[in-house]
């Protein structure tokens, strides 16, 4: 942009202060003009003339600076004259003056201790309300399921199969790889400790029990919460944003039956299968590591495996799978249906769904541990 940056000169002329504006008085020059204009005083003079005839470019920001100065000087008791404005600039100045209403830029927020108390309280109430809503949502799923059992054609077989493929089959590589690697890590870490006691062979017990009872299912559940729970929220949330869910309701279709139930059933089917696959891959990883690093041959490994584990070792892991699946699918669908309006809320609730489902999975896993310890398996 051509021209010189805005500035002004001040001179006295027959008892009158003359402020002569020069150069560009526009948004780009406003930074330079702002402070000097605020500091400008009439200096006891009764009349101030603002000579605006030399301005090269004049826009809303410049007009505001002129108007603000005019207003302040007048309030301080001076008589202010404006000269040198052509009609177009005069009109702009008048429009700016007409729209001079101060505004608040941000809503007021409480500060300090009050804010902490407010947030804690809000958080607590929201958590309780959410707990109640989860229970209600679980009830709704069960009612929908009961209705579908009574009228089996309400089961959407195609949709269930599609989701089993999405959440189960397509997750095999990642679940398998992670479980395999965890088996390796366990074997290696366990071996270096057990070697000190000459008890390398017990590494099999370590791997078998930790993988089968806890790690395989827990890791699978966490991966699936991140992979499929989030996908449920995002899919259903996007449909909410485009009013597809409302359209379903308006067409007399039940979103619980069409969207939620197939996803829940698919995950309840897929997760135990994935967990079993993770069991195998974890043992494979641990077994290979035991063989290469500790010279525990496959034959010895299998023999120790038989001795160390029984039906219940595997069952304890797999029993948890459908429960975790239900939790993950429920949270994913619930948060998806809570999406309102904007795409931004899809992102926010997707994150929340993942965090909540992982949290719930670990809490329930702890409860299972206590339960199994109490009944002694």
């Amino acid at each position: 942009m051509s021209g010189t940056a805005g500035s002004f000169t001040v001179r006295n002329e027959r008892g009158m202060v003359v402020l002569a504006a020069l150069g560009r008085w526009d948004a780009a020059a406003a930074r330079l003009l702002d402070a000097p204009l605020r500091a400008f005083r009439a200096g006891g003079s009764q009349t101030v003339r603002l000579d605006l005839g030399q301005i090269e470019r004049f826009d809303t920001a410049g007009a505001w600076l002129v108007w603000r100065t005019h207003k302040r000087l007048s309030a301080e008791g001076a008589t202010v004259e404006l000269v040198g404005l052509d009609p177009a600039r005069q009109a702009l100045l008048e429009q700016v003056a007409a729209n001079d209403h101060p505004v608040r830029v941000e809503p007021d927020k409480s500060r300090g201790l009050a804010r902490i108390a407010e947030r804690t309280g809000k958080g607590a109430v929201q958590a309780l309300r959410k707990g109640r809503n989860f229970v209600a949502f679980f009830g709704l799923i069960m009612v929908t399921l009961a209705r579908a059992v009574a009228q089996p054609r309400r089961f959407r077989i195609t949709s269930i199969v599609y989701h089993v493929e999405q959440v189960g089959l397509n997750a095999l590589p990642i679940v398998g790889l992670i479980s395999f690697l965890i088996g390796i890590v366990l074997a290696y870490q366990g071996a270096s400790q057990l070697q000190q006691f000459g008890a390398e062979v017990f590494v099999v017990n370590l791997i078998a029990i930790s993988v089968l009872r806890e790690l395989a299912i827990l890791l699978t559940a966490i991966i699936i919460a991140g992979r499929s729970g989030s996908a449920f929220t995002a899919q259903i949330g996007a449909m909410k944003v485009h009013e597809e869910v409302d359209a379903m309701r308006a067409l007399g279709l039940d979103p619980m039956e069409i969207l939620v139930l197939p996803r829940v059933i698919a995950l309840v089917i897929a997760l135990p299968l994935l967990a079993f696959f993770a069991d195998i891959m974890g043992l494979l990883g641990g077994g290979l590591m035991a063989w290469f690093a500790l010279d525990v041959s496959p034959a010895v490994f299998i023999e120790r495996l038989h001795a160390a584990t029984g039906f219940w070792t595997v069952a304890v892991g797999l029993i948890k799978a459908p429960v975790f699946a239900l939790l993950i699918a429920m949270v994913g669908c619930y948060e998806g249906l809570r999406v309102e309006g904007s795409a931004e809320s899809v992102g926010r609730l997707t994150t929340r769904a993942v965090v909540e489902s992982i949290f719930l999975v670990i809490v329930v896993d702890a409860l299972f541990s206590i339960f199994f310890a109490a009944i002694g398996v």
Binding site: R31, T60, N99, H101, P107
Partner: protein
Amino acid sequence: MSGDPIIRIRGLRTQFGRQVVHDGLDLDVERGEVIGIVGGSGTGKSVLLRTIVGLNRPAAGSIEVFGAELAKLPAGERRRQEQRWGVLFQDGALFSSLTVAQNIQVPLREHLHLPQALMDEIAAIKIGMVGLAPEAADKYPSELSGGMRKRAGLARALAMDPEVVFLDEPTAGLDPIGAAAFDQLIRSLQRSLGLTVFMVTHDLDSLHAICDRIAVLADKRVLVVGDMATMLRHDHPWIREYFHGPRARAANLDTAA
């Protein structure tokens, strides 16, 4: 600078994959005019707007704005050019994590580094100028109606006092009273700020009320440019259908000619 067109497009070709949207498109926009771009759905009106402001890269041809070709400018020059225009997207495209006033302050803060007090004052003026109530300033976009979001989007587009504003369907989705008020707003701002307005629209009332010239996009190029009388005289079937159809009669265009 007067006399030269402010936007000059020659031989523009845009395509997505193998789908050609524009081919050999020429258009001049004069300084200080309001030009309306019309055309059937899918003729690339919004694409043209986005291409001019550099959001799409043309496959061939040249687009000069303020006498310089944006694509060939170094990054710093290009940023200075971009500060000389404002864009109003269809739904306002306000930043959802910021209030209306903060949205208006974004370009002021990022480009001009103005002191906060001055930015607050300028934001207040812009909010008034686009006809929003002062109470709207500290609201978030999700708390506003569609019409208010458009006004807030316009205020942000005007924050830097640009020379050209690009409006993408400014009146779509507004009720007729709101749309008429928005037309008047654009017209009065255009007069008082000396703006050049490039407007993509479907709204015959807008075209009639505020556009100095109309450009019709069809067959991948600008078919004809001219005022409303030229449009009404033209005998291309689509233009006849558009300007003499039942909706056009409802907008009293026939009697205006």
